[in-house]
């Protein structure tokens, strides 16, 4: 018995020592990310892909082009206005804006070692606009809809033809969906039902990106190793980390502990309260970026009475306790979109800027009386279970404050699937959510989030003048004219009060001090290519 215990004990010690030594070599060259969500597919075009899968696909696949990045505080932020060639060696846009020509890299290789050809590129572009996936509707916003827009000019040149000079065509090619895939490999796995091989690429990767998938356990973890033949990096540079581990750790408190113990290197989805405490921790570094393309709002669905009444919407916007909500819900971690001082219309052409919303209960009460509800009314306020940590306190404050002007709020915390169904069916009265836009032009925000009979038009706003102006702005090339139109758009939105703009929450990336290079990307995920260890 004792002997056995001793043997087992020796084994344990030996294994710990051996393990420690083995880790020491590779640990510094390994990046370990922990996240609360799941990596659920290797191809971001599949319906149901999570945001984490988007982030993953940025590192396993190349696109023709990529956004540049610019320094921002302790890290970097993506630069929507500067686009560099990625899998393409260079690109040029014709003076009329209708043709984009891509020159390919002669030395680019797929992960299986075969060369990247113009046929592959054409097939990949055809795929993203044709396959029944998430890509097609996104490409539509860049005026790319059908396969015959893409032509092979010569073995090293591919051209994209547009019907209109769309400013968003090139940026769209830098988004998550238009991945360049190894067509010869994927074609071996297509079926009659699935001519683009989405079912196969779901858990098989066929790219040319800087990382190759080693292990993929959906909902658990993904392990990548570096593709040393990668040529598409900025200045041809390889990423620093030789190995990347992305792991799902559902409990935010556990993720926090992992970072504090130095076992994980980075997490970008910790609870705001944890981040607050970690700021005092010398063993950690926090890179905070206001998510300048995302915002939390309280939407008033105009299809549900009495939110069709402008005065009611204005009354509620005047009754919300913005400062308290900002402090209690997200601990002040973000950029306020309330409390703006406007003199004549919107001061900035940006869609997200402080709106002229202030807490003023007397004014709220007066507006409510004017609207015909001197005694208030009963209403509901909804949010999803997964956002409870932020929205539980927010809802409690909202209920209390609206109660003061006589509005009786019934709080509904809904499972996520239920919430999204009700949002899509336009059945919720008043609710809160965070929206994000990959494209950051003001007209894009307005067109996608405040017009049309589609899901993301949370307030179900139906304003023809706003819609027309946004469409005009979309194809306005002159920057000065565009800015003027953008300012006008925002002014119109403020007058309509379709929603109460709350804030741009911070993206708090918590890293161990040795990690550098974190970049806030439009898709809000970690791009492993950027990161290195000091």
């Amino acid at each position: 018995m004792n002997a056995l215990a001793r043997i087992l004990g020796t084994c344990a010690v030996a294994s710990v020592l051996a393990g420690g030594a083995a880790h020491a070599q590779t640990r510094a060259e390994t990046l370990r990310q922990v996240t609360g969500n799941a990596f659920n597919t290797l191809d971001p075009n599949l319906p149901g892909s999570t945001r984490e899968s988007f982030g993953l696909a940025m590192s396993t696949y190349d696109r023709l082009v990529s956004f540049e990045r610019k320094p921002n505080g302790k890290g970097f932020i993506f630069d929507f206005d500067h686009i560099r060639p990625e899998l393409a060696q260079s690109y040029s846009v014709s003076p009329d804006g209708l043709t984009i020509t891509f020159k390919l890299r002669p030395d680019a290789k797929w992960h299986d070692g075969t060369p990247v050809t113009a046929e592959d590129i054409k097939w990949s572009l055809d795929r993203v606009v044709t396959a029944k996936g998430l890509g097609a509707p996104q490409m539509l916003t860049g005026s790319m809809t059908k396969a015959d827009q893409f032509t092979i000019i010569d073995p090293m040149t591919v051209q994209v033809k547009l019907d209109r000079p769309d400013k968003l065509a090139l940026p769209n090619l830098a988004t998550v969906y238009p991945i360049m895939v190894n067509s010869k490999l994927v074609k071996q796995h297509v079926t009659a039902d699935d001519p683009w091989g989405l079912q196969w690429t779901k858990d098989h990767e066929a790219g040319s990106g800087p990382y190759i998938v080693d292990t993929f356990k959906p909902g658990e973890q993904v392990i990548l190793h570096r593709f040393d033949d990668w040529k598409s990096g900025k200045d041809g540079k390889l990423p620093f980390f030789k190995r990347v581990i992305g792991q799902t750790v559902p409990e935010a408190a556990t993720r926090a502990s992992l970072l504090q113990r130095g076992d994980a290197d980075i997490s970008i989805d910790l609870a705001a309260s944890d981040v607050l405490a970690m700021e005092k921790d010398p063993k950690l570094k926090i890179i905070s970026t206001p998510q300048f393309n995302a915002w939390q709002m309280i939407a008033f669905n105009q299809r549900v009475k009495p939110y069709d009444n402008l005065k009611v919407r204005q009354a509620i916007t005047a009754a919300l306790p913005y400062e308290d909500m900002f402090k209690a819900a997200i601990f002040g971690r973000g950029a306020p979109l309330f409390g703006g001082t406007w003199t004549t219309g919107a001061p900035s052409p940006l869609f997200l800027q402080p709106m002229p919303e202030h807490t003023d209960l007397a004014k709220a009460k007066a507006l409510l009386t004017e609207a015909g509800f001197p005694d208030g009314f009963d209403t509901t306020f909804s949010y999803s279970v997964s956002t409870a940590q932020i929205n539980d306190p927010l809802a409690a404050l909202l209920k209390e404050s609206l109660g003061k002007i006589g509005i009786r709020v019934d709080i509904q915390k809904l499972p996520d699937a239920q919430m999204s169904t009700l949002v899509t069916e336009k059945k919720l009265a008043m609710f809160t959510d965070t929206s994000i836009s990959w494209m950051t032009t003001t007209d894009y925000f307005v067109r996608n989030f405040l017009t049309g009979d589609q899901r993301w038009n949370y307030p179900s706003l139906d304003d023809k003048a706003l819609e027309t102006l946004a469409q005009t702005a979309r194809f306005t090339a002159d920057p000065a004219k565009y800015d003027e139109m953008a300012r006008q758009l925002v002014t119109m939105v403020a007058a309509e009060t379709p929603e109460a703009f709350l804030w741009q929450p911070s993206q708090d990336a918590v890293v161990v001090p040795s990690i550098e290079g974190y970049t806030y990307w439009f898709h809000r995920q970690v791009d492993y290519r950027d990161m290195y260890r000091k």
Partner: protein, 282 residues
Amino acid sequence: MSATAAGHALHVLRANRVSAFAAILAVVLVLTAGFGPLLLPFDPIASDVAISLQPPSALHWAGTDQLGRDVLARVIAAGRLDYAIAAAAVFLSFIVGAAIGGACGFRGGAVDRWVGRIVDVLMAFPLFVLAMALVAALGNRVENIIYATAIINLPFYIRFARAEVAVRRGAGWVEAASASGNGPWRIVFSFLLPNVLPAMAVQISLNLGWAILNAAGLSFIGLGVHPPTPEWGIMVAEGARFITVGHWWLVTAPGLALMLSVLCFNLLGDGLRDMLDPRMRT
């Protein structure tokens, strides 16, 4: 009768210190939940963000939460709701379960077989997942949490009542009651079930504690009661996430309240079993 019963109870309590402790604890807890809110100077709902997340002090004995609400006030206010949820859920499953089980045990036959099948189906379910699914389907409101908890407890009561009644069905005193003109329902409810009650009381007491834990578990995954209603489960679930941050007081008070309550119900259940067990009457 009652005098001797009380005397017996006292005897058992004296003999069993743990049960005595549980009984006193139960009285204290129920009184606190009942009258505590009247005595407290703080509103459990009203927020004051200026004093959020303060550690315990002379003024706020258990500290304040994210919205500056007094944690102690919320814990005490939550007691009523939690006891009500637990009591309602257990009462519901007991009444329904005893009625169905008693009828089946007494009657037997096809109905019994069918009910047996349905109970088998329920028993085979992973219970917590069933509760989650029910609450998710019905909506996470207090009454639905009660129904869900009642339903997952139901099979125990049906089986228990059925077995106990079936065993006693053929007993001489039941036949005597039947011969003296009592109908079957009357026999089940007046004669058989009261005899089963002691054994069930133990289960009831244990289930009360379990129901509170169940509600807490539902809160942890976000299917608990809506804010700003104070409830232990949700306070513990939220507070537990603040431990590493150093805001330990958020979980301490609700955690203790929840723990003591469940402990109390469990020990009480044990004590009850001893008290009702005739072999203890020596």
